[in-house]
């Protein structure tokens, strides 16, 4: 008897269904491999596809475009050009609402509630470049459109997708 013919004794088989379920099994395996590959690429966060830099004028930001909820992520703001004794960084509403800041380096001299978001004022040594690092946990999943602005310069916009 053909190996793939259904037997009735001692158990009732449906080999047609069995062979189909083997195919589904194989499709499932390829999906699992695909998932792992996407994970390696960084499309689920932490990886080459996720690391991004955006810049506008003297302000640029290095960040992770794909983040996962509750995971700590780093936003590195680089400021080039003369800064003066004080430097004011404005972060929009979306940042304030969706992220819980756990640390800011250096500590801001002043942190004020702005018109729509957060105003951080840092003391500088007047050097031609400065770096501000903000560590934050994402607290809400979905897309966040964040705007950062340095003093009265043109705003810098970037988006972050937070996975549940």
């Amino acid at each position: 008897m053909d190996e793939f013919a259904s037997r009735q004794i001692p158990v009732r088989e449906d080999m047609r269904f069995q062979r189909r379920s083997w195919i589904v099994e194989r499709v499932g395996w390829s999906l699992l491999i695909l998932l792992a590959l996407i994970g390696l690429s960084g499309a689920f966060g932490i990886g080459p596809l996720s690391w991004q830099t955006a810049s506008s004028g003297p302000l640029s930001v290095e960040y992770e475009r794909f983040q996962r909820i509750t995971r700590l992520a780093r936003f590195t703001f680089n400021i080039s050009g003369q800064t003066g004794p004080e430097l004011r960084l404005h972060l929009s509403d979306a940042f304030q609402k969706n992220f819980e800041v756990s640390n800011i380096q250096p500590r801001p001299a002043r942190s004020t509630a702005g018109r729509d978001g957060l105003d951080l004022t840092f003391a500088t040594d007047g050097a031609s470049a400065a770096r501000i690092v903000i560590w934050a946990h994402s607290r809400r999943y979905g897309m966040s459109d964040i705007t950062a602005r340095l003093g009265s310069e043109a705003p810098l916009s970037f988006w972050v997708l937070v996975y549940p």
Binding site: M1, E3, F4, R7, P10, V11, E13, D14, M15, F17, Q18, S21, W22, V24, E25, V27, G28, W29, L31, L32, T70
Partner: protein
């Protein structure tokens, strides 16, 4: 609200992954498979509970998991057509002493696995002593010994 949704998503995703991983994973579990299952449990556990260690959350999660499990068993008994989809069906691996190699290869079972089950369950030594070896829906291999001269026959009650 989100605990129930999270639990439901995790339940079905895990169910689908275990289902496509094949029966081998459940029935004939090696020590490493066991460790793997513990790791799977540990990795999903934190995603479900998050930072909410409250009693209510635990109750909600347990209630959701058990409800879904009961639901699946009800579906299985009410609609027989769903049975093979929800649970793998038994399949014969050895027929009258002959190994059905194309089947065992697809099911990722070796001759050694079957002989091991034959030794363990009936003290059989050779493939010829096996009438049927069946891969059950649980993933376990069961053996129907061939009735022949020797040890096995003694165990079979005879009509006078």
């Amino acid at each position: 609200m989100d605990s129930v949704i999270k639990a439901t998503v995790v339940f079905f995703v895990l169910w689908a992954i275990i289902r496509v991983s094949g029966r081998r994973t459940l029935g004939e579990m090696t020590a490493f498979d066991f460790v793997l299952f513990l790791i799977i449990g540990g990795s999903t556990q934190r995603a479900i509970t998050g930072q909410d260690y409250s009693l209510i959350n635990a109750l909600l999660l347990v209630a959701t998991f058990v409800t879904l499990d009961i639901g699946l068993s009800i579906v299985e008994t009410r609609w027989p057509a769903m049975r093979p989809i929800l649970n793998a069906q038994p399949m014969i691996l050895v027929e009258n002493g002959y190994l059905l190699t194309r089947r065992t290869r697809r099911a990722r079972i070796t001759e050694g696995n079957i002989l091991e089950a034959a030794r363990r369950l009936h003290g059989l030594e050779r493939m010829e002593q096996i009438k049927f070896a069946i891969l059950e829906s649980t993933g376990a291999i069961t053996i129907v010994p061939a009735v022949q001269a020797g040890r096995v026959e003694v165990a079979v009650p005879k009509e006078a």
